[in-house]
Amino acid sequence: MTITTTSTKKYKILDPETGALDPRIYSDETIYREEMEKVFGRSWLLIGHESLVPNPGDFFHTYMGEEPVILTRDRQGGLNAMLNVCRHRGARLTRTDDGNCASFMCVYHGWTYGLDGALEYVPGEEQAYDNKLDKTKLGLRRARVETYAGLIFATWAPDAPSLEDFLGDARWYLDTEYKRRPAGFIAYGPQKWIQPVNWKTSVDNCSDWYHVPTTHSSASNALARVMGATRYTHEWNWTVPAKHAFVNGHQIAVFETTGHEAPAEEVERLGEFRANNVAASASSIFPNTVLGMRLAIPRGPLQTEFWHFALVPADATEEEKRVLRMEHASQNGAAGTFEADDIDNWRQVSNSGATFIGAQQEQLLNMGLGNAGPHDVYPGMVTDRFVSEHNQRAFYLRYQEFMNAGSWADISLEPQTAVYEGTTAEM
């Protein structure tokens, strides 16, 4: 059986010359259905972190787009991502969020699968099936799994490039966050909650510092007054020494920490330049990893389940961990003072093309047009403008490329030019 492409429609959703965006991409049911195939059915997707499944037998229940997936650590220490759908009648094999087990038994009829998804036992194999069931062909549907710095990604697409090629030069930046500390990270969480938004709005917002002084003024001002935090004003935005880099639809905000003297072990790990000068901040990894280790999981055109993890350095002191946890819970996440103020904005953006007249009004993503390009030192497409809509354009053009592609053969990968210094150069 082959499920063929649902549509051969060629989308033109963003005009790169004018920044005009078709608002129907958020609310249209047909487009959403096609995204499930062409974006979530083929892209690499973040599904978890190694610290969630440290021991053999550990599992963590996750999602690839709408698909329920079991992430396991098998007896050999390998990682497996398998569709949580029984090959018999399609019931789920586990209904728990995480745990440790030797096998997964479907509670409908008792078909039992191993940690690698192999079908191990079927009740009545002889008496009911006359020994005619080929169990070797009835394992759980497996996804390809690869990791980067403890982050676990998976894809359904056999023709997808390696994760290394998929991340491309974005890794040069992401290393400065995910590989800086030698002990790696522990993932706490996730918080889970449902937002009445289209999943794309939170991704494109991830690099949008233009909204911060307005949307988040109350949280920023209060944090500045009470905790002495940076006050995110427009003036701060215009003058902060920072860049944005764009690679393969991924985005990284980069703070230039020139003059900073990183500890020797960080210099050893990242090389002098990156350790001292480059600090990756808010990043989005195409398609739905938002602002660090957070997922925007599609639940329909106008509904998204958010998963908010907190990555805490494994070698942090208890006090450092406490501060990081409290920061995460109080600023972002379901009860976050910053995030709470985003949701209604994103919802309204998501709904803007759902009405007859509204659908005729394009959204305007033209800020900073023409101000991004190659850079001598920083890989990828780079802009010195901390406030611009380059990421929105880069993200939606990448999205359009996925939506118009027949297969991975039609999806471009930017050439990798970054030079990696330090002991963490390997993927």
Partner: protein, 185 residues
């Protein structure tokens, strides 16, 4: 049904001559607190907490019955929904007072029904009290959500008043079905 086990009754009686008076006292405290929240008198509500307060709302996981001990990750082991000390709660209040805390502009209409009070332990100047609650939230035009859960409080006697030193809120939910948690419990 009695409100105290025999053992508890004894300990309550040691600290307070009349356990029923203590129960009445706390019940009155919780009713007043609920009205402060629903009437949006957040500063007065905040004043009910001690200086060293902790306002904690853990996650609640789906785990098998036999692994029930893993259902609610304890403080310090996980990312909760709330882990606020006095300073972080002050940030939340200043935000609401700014006129620019958009999640609550215009503000939610809430109704907290708090009940099922039991007093779990009684110390010299502290009691541990547990309540159940249903909270209805309505906002903007048609948004509405219902939260149900329990609260376990360490209440401390300060200047002849009860103060909340440590509150643990456990929601009866796994994935939260609300756009944001910009209200209090």
């Amino acid at each position: 049904m009695t409100l105290f086990s025999e053992e508890q009754r004894e300990s309550v009686q040691t600290a307070f001559l009349d356990p029923q008076s203590l129960w009445n006292d706390l019940n009155h405290f919780y009713i007043r607190e609920a009205w402060l929240l629903d009437d949006r008198r957040f500063r007065e509500w905040f004043a009910l907490f001690t200086e060293d307060m902790m306002y904690f709302m853990p996650r609640r996981k789906n785990v098998p019955v036999r692994e029930a001990h893993r259902e609610i990750p304890p403080i310090g082991t996980d990312l909760p929904y709330y882990e606020d000390d006095r300073k972080l709660m002050e940030v939340r209040l200043q935000r609401l007072e700014s006129g620019m805390g958009w999640a609550e502009e215009p503000p939610s209409r809430t109704r907290h029904l708090v009940g099922n009070l039991v007093i779990e332990t009684v110390g010299e100047d502290e009691v541990v009290a547990k309540t159940g609650f249903i909270c209805y939230r309505s906002q903007l035009e048609v948004d509405q959500s219902i939260y149900a859960g329990s609260r376990t409080d360490v209440l401390r006697r300060e200047d002849s008043e009860w103060r909340i030193a440590h509150r643990t809120i456990v929601l009866d939910a796994n994935v939260i079905l609300d756009k944001n948690i910009s209200i209090f419990f």
